[in-house]
Each structure stands twice: as structure tokens, then as C-alpha cells.
Subunit: 185 residues, 6 copies
Amino acid sequence: MPIIEVHLLEGYDDAARTRMGEALTDAVRLVVPAEPDAVTVMIHERKPTQYMRGRRHRQGAAALPDPASVVRAYLDAMEARDLAAAQACLADGFTMTFPGAAPMHRLQELIDWAKPRYRFVRKSYEGMDTCATPGPAIVYARGTLSGEWPDGTPFEGIRFIDRFEVAGGLIVRQDVWNDIAEVRP
Amino acid sequence: MPIIEVHLLEGYDDAARTRMGEALTDAVRLVVPAEPDAVTVMIHERKPTQYMRGRRHRQGAAALPDPASVVRAYLDAMEARDLAAAQACLADGFTMTFPGAAPMHRLQELIDWAKPRYRFVRKSYEGMDTCATPGPAIVYARGTLSGEWPDGTPFEGIRFIDRFEVAGGLIVRQDVWNDIAEVRP
Amino acid sequence: MPIIEVHLLEGYDDAARTRMGEALTDAVRLVVPAEPDAVTVMIHERKPTQYMRGRRHRQGAAALPDPASVVRAYLDAMEARDLAAAQACLADGFTMTFPGAAPMHRLQELIDWAKPRYRFVRKSYEGMDTCATPGPAIVYARGTLSGEWPDGTPFEGIRFIDRFEVAGGLIVRQDVWNDIAEVRP
Amino acid sequence: MPIIEVHLLEGYDDAARTRMGEALTDAVRLVVPAEPDAVTVMIHERKPTQYMRGRRHRQGAAALPDPASVVRAYLDAMEARDLAAAQACLADGFTMTFPGAAPMHRLQELIDWAKPRYRFVRKSYEGMDTCATPGPAIVYARGTLSGEWPDGTPFEGIRFIDRFEVAGGLIVRQDVWNDIAEVRP
Amino acid sequence: MPIIEVHLLEGYDDAARTRMGEALTDAVRLVVPAEPDAVTVMIHERKPTQYMRGRRHRQGAAALPDPASVVRAYLDAMEARDLAAAQACLADGFTMTFPGAAPMHRLQELIDWAKPRYRFVRKSYEGMDTCATPGPAIVYARGTLSGEWPDGTPFEGIRFIDRFEVAGGLIVRQDVWNDIAEVRP
Amino acid sequence: MPIIEVHLLEGYDDAARTRMGEALTDAVRLVVPAEPDAVTVMIHERKPTQYMRGRRHRQGAAALPDPASVVRAYLDAMEARDLAAAQACLADGFTMTFPGAAPMHRLQELIDWAKPRYRFVRKSYEGMDTCATPGPAIVYARGTLSGEWPDGTPFEGIRFIDRFEVAGGLIVRQDVWNDIAEVRP
């Protein structure tokens, strides 16, 4: 039953409008017990000349990228060890915290720290959750790890979850939890 | 700059309207790079007699509880070992998965599984994130664990994160990750 | 899918709002091929102090009665030969045209004209249709007639349809068609 | 005074918007005693990308034809005995009921039934009324009949009214009343 | 034809809503060549709980007084020499500039300056104009002066115009022009 | 905090939309004590086919010129003694009233009346105020006069204010006040 109208300055493409509609639909359903089919979203777009605040016309701003896409691009680049592509996803002051390690800042630190721990590791994703907040967007990626220990023994099905803070389309912070310590030799 | 209008059937109290406004504000900011101060939300409430769909007046529905509050109530009840209060937060078919354990369903299973692992454990919360989805609401609670090992040795600062699926105000599922295995004797 | 919003001065009761929602729902469906369930109507009511046109606040007006109810009240009163109640439904200048008769104006004319044609007649209604127009509302009542001929022979199942013009809650004109001539002795 | 706003997916041409505005204007005036000049209609059209229900963008649907135009096309085709053109206006299961006849389904049945009754008949229309309903649109066409009896004698001024049910732009049902039995030789 | 909707936090009485409607009606007619009768204003009032900006509910503010009323109260108080009442209309830093005099700040200065110029003076008002600006409201009061010169000779019909800047309901500045110099002895 | 929406027929250029937004912003701030930054204006433009009143589509009208621009054009043309350009700004029945003179109607009358009073005069503008009213727009232009007396002596800093009534983009009336009489030889 809820009907949501959004008034915006134009400048958004179809993908951004779709994400906006989905995010607003899900958000109102945190409070209103309605099925998605009962939630309508209408987007009204205004040209700058049709919008004024404080006696000035304003410009719309380009849409933020989908934070989940930013996180996935980063994780894929790291798995491929494409550090340049991964670095491009990161904001200044980026911090990552892994189980049993002090916070790290540079990707090479992570590569070095990981080297004695396993030959390689791959992520299988069960899902990603995006949380809208008053501050950065939060993205959770969870699933299982598979790979090989230093001695070549394979492992799989180790539970993991990563938490990312994404602001302005760049990753500010990454926190990782996993069950590696439960099972490693 | 975005202005969001929500049309609803009446029946929501101040707390629900506040949550709705905050959720919509944060949701639109996943796409529009605006500061919270630039996002306005107006809630229009209609009496059933002023609303009609399919040639029938409809009734509004009571607001869902804040899923983060449901999760906090559950975790506090568990910490106090008030199993009745904790159980009241759970949906049928509730499943919980802890590191190194098979999925459990009954709270007593968890109590028994935990007994040999530590004398007691307390959670210190760093934050909770709520994700709106097309399905259940997802709540993440993270922080650190402190307590005593079976031999009485205290521990503290062990990282944890719990993921909850909340539907209709009840917890359907809990997944837990933590660094206990990294540090336990 | 269509969403209709109506802005009105307050002063309408629940019955009027329901009729308004139904009429608007049906009206838009003359053009938009949507099922009734896909049509939403929201009524926004303003106090006179919140509405201004031509720099003056305006008063709302009382709702018109449902024209179909006016017609039904008239037909029921005529069948009961309660001429005072029937007359109260009529506007000045009321005209009625029956098959094979010149237009009549006074209810007594109709009673006299009908006397030699049948002992009595009762209407069984199959349905009533209301047409909104730029002028008066049009109401069609159709069904079958039953009764007794002057010689006492009963009749039934004779098709009839009456067309009424209703303006300001009063009947201005009535036109009648029926199959009496097909079957009367 | 009423102001009506309609929110639609785009895809309607000028003729459809005009019909929509007229139908809504007339519909609200069944309840609100306002002159047409006091009723404003504004149509807001959204591109599919700006509209979402149930987390999906929707397509608008093509406008239904004006049911009164469908009926007029049918009646004109029948008068010209262009059975193919007339048939194209009809839905499967079409039924027609004439005074003194059992319901007929095929146009040729009507031609045959009419043959012994008059040499030809022409309709002069006094007006057409369209009723919006929760089901099919109802169209009434009324006026007078003129023509020649089988013996060549002309007739004119015989009152008629036809009731049509139109769904999805096709005629589902026709019911006819007229005064032929009052006057035929 | 223009239709203006204003969304506000509640807290305005009837007088304020009337002034708002009139001001908006006149303002749009600076650009749109419509007669006042063609301009509609609708005021939508929200409770603080139904309005949120920057994730906070806001309070409405009390209406500003009609600046023309403030000016009239001041001029009437001055004419009655009720300096306390007049002073209450003034903001700190109030400045008044009369023809042929340096700017004055205190009402007593004006009384003293005026004493040798005329025995008394009365204002007859032809009209007052209010200008809305991005800064203070501007009020113009014009008409004619009558009174007596120091020697008792009466005078009348001397044209005057006063310009007032009103901010927050208090007069910040007054500029006076008149034809006294054209006619005084 | 106020949010103003204007619904219009299209046909306005950017300059007109800007003036409209500014005028509405300033107008609402006569009543609501909000800073300009807290006032939002959104202009919704409809094609004639999307707007209907009284069952008829309407045409939008071209914007009125900014009345302050009309006044400035007139005053500049007069100062340059371009009487044709000045005359083009005037409506039939134009009246001007100067201090110490009877009302005049033709520009040549003013030229002749002014000739013995000063060799030339130039206006320095301190500001212009525009007042929206239910009738004509009122424009005030104020500042100081400089020039030369008939004997060649220069003068400057003489206060003036002109009041103009502008209807349909043409000046209907001009009233002038100034301190010339205070200082002229």
C-alpha cells in the first residue's frame, strides 16, 4: 500500500533509478509490513531550471555507484592479484582488519601476511547485504573459502564474512571474520 | 536535495514515523550523493475512508518492530540466560550456526554446546547495521567478546559478528563468526 | 497502475468518499486497461483555511446524493403509490415518456394512463447503470415487469428499461421502454 | 473546486488523455456539486524507468478505444449490412436480445429474424451515454427508427434504446428495446 | 490556471494561512498573466512527526506578523505620540531619514526636529504596498499630510511616501519623502 | 522548510522560471520566518494535453515581462530623451504625478515642465522594489538625482523615489517624490 514519490534533479540513468526504487521499497518495508508488490515508487525528475532552493537553481549530482558492485570489483581484483585495479577501489586511509592480525593499510601488507598462511584462497559467495546508514554505505559479503594450505592440502567450505564501509564510491574500511582458525592445520 | 513523500494509511506512532524517515533518507543516499541535511521526507497519512484500491477501502497495518531492537532484546536475554524471553524473539524453524559447530535449532542446544568452551561470555557492541531487503530484514551486530575460559582465565577483545534474518518481527536465522579459535587455549 | 489523487474541501462523509473513489476508479478504466485492483485513489481533504482560489477561501459543498439511490427511491415510492414521496424526488419541469404515450408531467397523469392498461405492475431489477456526463447524471434501471392485466391474467418477465436524468439530486426526466406491446392481450 | 491528479505510465495519445480528463471530471461531479469549470485534471506521465511496483518497472498499456466509438462503428456497419466489419467489433460469446425474440448470437440470425419484420430500418440517434463500471463499459445508444414495413409503408419516429457491454474494446452483449410493437401493422 | 501547493510544518493560524495564500497568488501573477480567480493555493500542513530533514524532525516556527500591520501600528502610535508603543515596533539600530534632515535614530530626535516645522501633522493613507524580498520585507505607506504650520495655518493634501524595512516583525529602517518643501511657508 | 510546488502549463523560459521561483520564495517568507536556503520551489510543467479544466484543454500564456525591467527601460529611455522607446513602455491612459505639478499624461508635457527647472538630471539608483498585488505590479525605484540647475550650478545627492503601476507589461501610472524643493535655489 505505501506509495513513495521522490523529487530529484535529473541526471540519473536507468540503473540508478532502478537501484533507487528498490532501496526505497525495501526501506519502507522495514516499518510497514507490506509485500513488495504493495509498494509503489514514482520518481519525478526536474530540470535545474524547474528547481530552486535558497533562490538558486541547483545542479543534480551524478549517481553514486552501487556499493556492492564496488566491493565485488575489489574482491575480484584481489583474488586475481590485480593490485592496481584493487587499489583503485580504495579511499585514502583505507584500513583492513583480518582475524589474528593487526590492522593493515597497504595491499602488499595483506599479500605478505597471507603468504605463509595458505598457497591460495578463493571465495564462493552466498550473498551480499547492503546497509544504508547516515554515514557510509555498509556492504557485507559472505560465503565460504576454498584453497590450499602451504603444504598443498586443499580446504573448502570455511565460513567467512567481510564488512566494508563505502563512501563516495570508494572503500574506506574492511573487517574480516572467518573460521580459518577453527580448521587450519 | 531529494524530497521524498510517502503516502500511507494511518496507524503509525511517532517512533515508526521516525524510523521510516531515517530509513528512506539513508536509502536514497545509496544512490544520490547528498548529505543527510539535503534530504527531506514528508509523510502523508490517509484515513481508510480517504484511500481506496481495487474499489475497496483498506486498513493500515501495525508497524513492524525495529529489527535491531528485536535482535538486541534477544542477545540481552541470552546473555542473562533468560531463555523464555529469548525464545519469544524467535520464529518457528529458527536456525543458528556458530563457528566450528553444526547448525543448532534449540536454545538449550547452544547452552550445552557452549558450556565446555567458556565459563561465561559477555558481548561489547561496537555497532549494529540493518539492511533492508526484498525479503527479511538483516541485522548485523558486531563487537568484542570478554569472559572466562573453563579454567577461569579471563579473555577480552575477541572480535565477533552475528548476522540475523528478521521477518515479521521474529528472528528466523542467526549466523555467528568470531576469533575465538584464534586465541583460545 | 493508475494512481488518482483528489484534492477537495472537506465536508464529505464516508459514503460520499466511497462513491467518489469508485466513480474515479471506474472512469479511469474506460481508457486504461487496468484491473480495479491496479487502481488506487487517494482523497486529500483541505479545510477552507488551507484552500484559496482567487484570493478567497472557499467553502466545500455538501455531497450530491447517489443518483441511483434517488431513482430507486422514486421507483419504490411509485410502486407503493406513495405519490408524495415520489413527487419529492422530482424537479420542476419533470417529464416522463412511456411507450405509446405522449410525454406526461404529473404523476397523477401516469396513474390515470396506466389504469386501463394493467391492474398492477411490479418491477424486478436486473441492474442499474449510472453514467457521469457534463450535464445531469444519467441512471438506467432495467429488469422485468410482472403483474396482472385488467382481466386478472398475470404476466411476468416483460423486459423494461427506464432512463432518468438526475440533476442536483432531483429527477428531471424519465424515458421508458418495454416489451408490453409485444405480449399484451 | 476539485483538483484531480492522475499518475500514469506514458503511452497515451492526446485523444486518450482528453477522454480520461473528461471521464474523471464527470465522475467526480457525481458526488461533488461543482460546475465542470471548477474541476481541474492534471495528468502526470512517468516513463517505465521512473515507476516501480513490487521492485519491478512496469510497462504502460495501450489505451482502450472509446467504447461509444466501438458501438457506433458496429451499428453503422450493421446498417450498411457490412457483416465483416460488424463482426470485427464483437467478442466471442456475443449475445443480442431483441424485443419478442430469444437471444441470438450470430449476425446472420439477426438478419434472418429481421427480414419478415421490415424492408429496412435506419437509426436516428438522439444521444449515447457511457457508463463506467467495475466490469465492462456500458454504452447506451437511443433515438428513433425509420424505415419501411414489408408492404412498403414507411414508418418513422419509433423510439429505441440499445444497451451494449464493451470489454477490452469488443462488444460482449447487446440488449434492445423499442416501440415497434406499439405501432406495427 | 496555476496551482500552488505549499508544504509546511503546522503551527499557523487562519490569518497567517490567508496572508500566505494571498502572497503566493500575487507572486505567481508577476510572471503568469492569470486573473486571481485562476490561481489556486493549497496548504498542506504536517505535524513535526510527519516531517524530517537531515534525519531529524523539525519544529515549525510561529508566523511573522503582517509587516504592513507592524508599520501601521508604528505610524498610529507616532501620530498619537505614544512613544513606548512606537518604540516597541522598532529593531535595534533603527534609522529614519526625513527630507532635509540627517538620519535620526531615536524617536525623541524626530519629535524635536519636527516641533519647529509644524504644530501637528496627520496622515491620510491612500494605500500600502508590501514587497517580499530575499532580505527584509519592504512596506510602503503613501497618502497625504494635513495639519497646521507653526503659525496655525492649516495645510492639507501634501503628498508623502514612507518606505520601511521590516525584519523579524520589527522596523529596521524608515525613509520618508514628501512635498512639504514644495508648499511650506 | 517550506516546500512550494507550482503546477503550470508549459511555455515559460528559464528566466521566467527563475523569477517565479524567487517571487514565490520571497512571498512565503513574508509569513514563515525561514531563511531563503530553507525554501524549496519545484515547478511542474504540463503540456496542454495533460491539463484540463472544465473539460477543455487550455493553452498556457506567455510570461509577463519583469515589471522592474519595464520600469528601468522606461527610465533609461527618458534619461536619453528617447521618447519613442519610452512611449512604448506606457499603457493608454498613462498618468504621471511629480512634486508640485498637476498630473501629466504625455511625455512631451513632462519635458516642457522640466525644462525651466533644471538643465539636465541623472538618476543614480540605490535599489528597486517590486510588490505583487491582486491588481497591477508595483515597482519602486529610488536613489539620488544629480544634474545642473538652469544657471549651470551642479547638484547631486537629492533623494528621489518613483512609484510605478505596471499591468500587462506596460506602465499605467507613475508617482514621483523627491527632495528637489528642499535644496533648489
